[in-house]
């Protein structure tokens, strides 16, 4: 398959297009009671989960998109739909204009997929043997393969364990080898599902840098899911947040901060050991005269806080910075949880009076 001439392609062309995509799962519920065992076998209780509820999403060529959400939000489902492993119950999924399920064989030559919890390596073979297997099965021309092999070996530091069997590698080494393997056929788009799972700080940093270099040098479009928000913030220019199967946010990280809250950290050093009490700010920790607070800058001004601090103690030093993205996301998830509970209570109240309208039934894809 010829390498696409990326210089001739408009930088703004859309490579991923999800339109009105629905996906539902059915889960059998099991009782913990022995006396319920026969009933659950003959007439199981089934729970329907709407993993995706009519989502629309577009990704442009060359973007790095972070795809985030709490557990069970629908992230992995989206990646599986985009990888051609699942078909939507309704709506359409198109990548490069292809249907990932119907055009699977043609399609998977152009994508790379890395699942954090699954390896594509051959367990009892060396990385070299697994890579050679990849070359043959994906029919990668020898010269392209050698070029990409050199590239991934250098950037991912694979040389030291290239001839070691996969079984004997550490998790970080396996992940790096998996990432290298996903790239050998020069995919145009890379789907990374939890790629930094279980990696140490250095391994994570190396992997993230590699993905950024890949995107910059080869215009590879990247969609990455992760729970590690600081990783995503380093990597991606755009974040799409999914919640209960809906897209709750689509923008950059600064917009995310502003949209949900403008959380900041304030570090005050005082001559006194006791931390000043600041209205509008929560004390995180205090030790040896250094006190750290968190506050919402959209609701209270730093100047007002400093005024309060100065009134209570001798302020020696002040430091302020944006709240960690993990804090921002945790706040968002917490808010969603509360909203979800409130909605559930409201629904209960309503249903006791009248039947709520059912969501539209998805048509077959």
């Amino acid at each position: 398959m010829p390498v696409p001439d990326r210089s001739a392609i408009s930088a703004s062309d859309t490579v991923v297009e999800l339109t009105g995509v629905w996906k539902r799962y059915r889960q059998k519920q099991r009782s913990a009671q022995l006396r319920e065992v026969v009933r659950t076998m003959l007439r199981p209780t089934v729970r329907t989960i709407e993993a995706l509820r009519g989502i629309d999403l577009q990704v442009q060529r060359g973007e790095i998109v972070a795809y985030a959400g709490p557990n069970g939000a629908g992230k992995s489902t989206t990646v599986k739909l985009l990888s051609g492993l699942l078909a939507p119950d309704a709506g359409s999924v198109r990548v490069f204009g292809l249907d990932p399920v119907r055009d699977r064989v043609r399609y998977v030559r152009r994508i790379g997929v890395v699942f954090g919890q699954r390896t594509e390596l051959w367990w009892d073979h060396s990385i070299a043997a697994s890579y050679e297997w990849k070359r043959v099965v994906w029919d990668v021309p020898r010269d392209r393969y050698e070029r990409m092999l050199g590239f991934v070996k250098e950037l991912l530091g694979l040389d030291e364990f290239f001839h070691t069997t996969a079984r004997e590698l550490s998790l970080g080494q396996k992940m790096r080898a998996d990432l290298g393997m996903a790239l050998l056929h020069e995919p145009e788009i890379l789907f990374l599902d939890e790629p930094t799972l279980g990696l140490d700080v250095l391994a994570k940093r190396q992997m993230l840098q590699f993905v950024k270099d890949l995107n910059r040098e080869r215009q590879v479009t990247v969609m990455v899911t992760s729970h590690d928000m600081s990783d995503l913030e380093q990597l991606a220019g755009r974040i799409v947040m999914i919640h209960h199967g809906n897209i709750a946010f689509d923008g950059d990280f600064d917009q995310l901060r502003r949209a949900f809250s403008d959380r900041r950290r304030l570090l005050i050093e005082t001559a006194e050991a006791t931390a000043p009490r600041l209205a509008g700010a929560d004390l995180l920790h205090s030790a040896a005269g250094r006190h750290e607070y968190v506050f919402d800058a959209s609701e209270v001004k730093i100047a007002a806080l400093l005024e309060q601090a100065a009134a209570q103690a001798q302020v020696l030093d002040v430091e302020t910075h944006r709240a960690d993205i993990d804090d921002v996301i945790a706040d968002i998830y917490l808010r969603w949880q509360h909203d979800g509970k409130a909605q559930a209570l409201a629904t209960d109240a309503q249903s006791s009076q009248a039947q709520p309208a059912a969501p539209p039934a998805p048509t077959d894809a």
Partner: protein, 284 residues
């Protein structure tokens, strides 16, 4: 069309070469593995036929089958299974394990049709051939003891029936194994249960079974076609020469059913995916 077929054949040969090389690398990784594997394979294949052999020895045959005829049956049975083993390693034969453990995704992300992946991924020409020699030895020994007239036509019939029996075993595994698309947890081991039953019963002559049970063993659970029925035809126990084609016809029917079931399962899988994932047995 001819072009496409030629390309597909070339591709299959190319993949067999790849997997063959990987098999050699794996089994020859150290002397201990190499020796252990072959000794134990001989032991396993020996154990599989010993019970029936000893019974035939003790009772000078089993039912209407003379000792040498039982030997022929055993050789045929071992060879029919043995023909599959070099092509069906890595749970290709026990497909319900792949499906039940959510490992089909690994096949789906490969840029080739699923049938091609399954036809080639399990190719193990070195580690999977241990049953061929004992099977061949038993068959040749029995043929000599029975003074069979070994003509080219007879050999052709033998090969056709052996291939058909091997296909029946595989198709049977896929027919039952496809249930794992709908019930991945419960049906994960259904292929191995089904094939174990086939293995345990394949080397017994089935004369003397009631019509109902025999009918079942020639249809729903085709144990009868693994060795007993084709051997009756090859040994001339059946009067009609057309019986030589019954096993191949059965192979075609069971294969068609298996393909239908598997394709139906794939459609189901595209809708539901797999909520389970276990890496055991995947490329191990």
């Amino acid at each position: 069309m001819a072009n496409g077929l030629a390309r597909a054949l070339l591709r299959i040969l190319q993949l067999w070469r790849l997997y063959g090389a990987m098999d050699v690398i794996w089994i020859a990784r150290d002397a201990k593995t190499f020796i252990t594997w072959y000794i134990t394979d001989i032991v396993v294949n020996g154990a599989a036929v010993t019970a029936t052999l000893l019974l035939a020895e003790r009772f000078s045959g089993i039912g209407p089958w003379a000792k040498s005829q039982v030997l022929f049956l055993l050789g045929y049975a071992v060879l029919a299974s043995g023909l599959l083993d070099p092509f069906c390693n890595y749970n290709v034969k026990y497909v319900s394990r792949r499906l039940g453990r959510g490992q089909l995704d690994h096949t789906l992300i490969q840029p080739q049709p699923i049938w091609m992946a399954l036809l080639t991924e399990g190719f193990s020409p070195l580690s999977g051939t241990a049953a061929l020699l004992p099977g061949l030895v038993l068959l040749v020994w029995a043929t000599h003891a029975l003074h069979l007239s070994v003509t080219p036509a007879w050999i052709a019939a033998l090969l056709l029936n052996l291939l058909a029996s091997a296909i029946i075993i595989l198709a049977f595994s896929y027919l039952w194994g496809s249930l794992a698309f709908w019930a991945p947890r419960s049906a994960e081991e259904i292929s191995s249960s089904a094939l174990r039953t086939l293995d345990q019963l394949k080397s017994f002559p089935l004369d003397g079974l009631g019509l109902g049970l025999l009918g079942g063993l020639l249809t729903v659970l085709p144990v009868g076609f693994v060795a007993w029925y084709p051997c009756r035809a090859l040994l001339g126990i059946e009067q009609s020469a057309y019986q030589l084609f019954t096993t191949p016809i059965a192979a075609a029917i069971i294969s068609a059913a298996a393909i239908l079931a598997f394709r139906g399962g794939l459609k189901q899988y595209a809708r539901t995916g797999s909520q389970r994932y276990l890496s055991f047995g995947h490329r191990r």
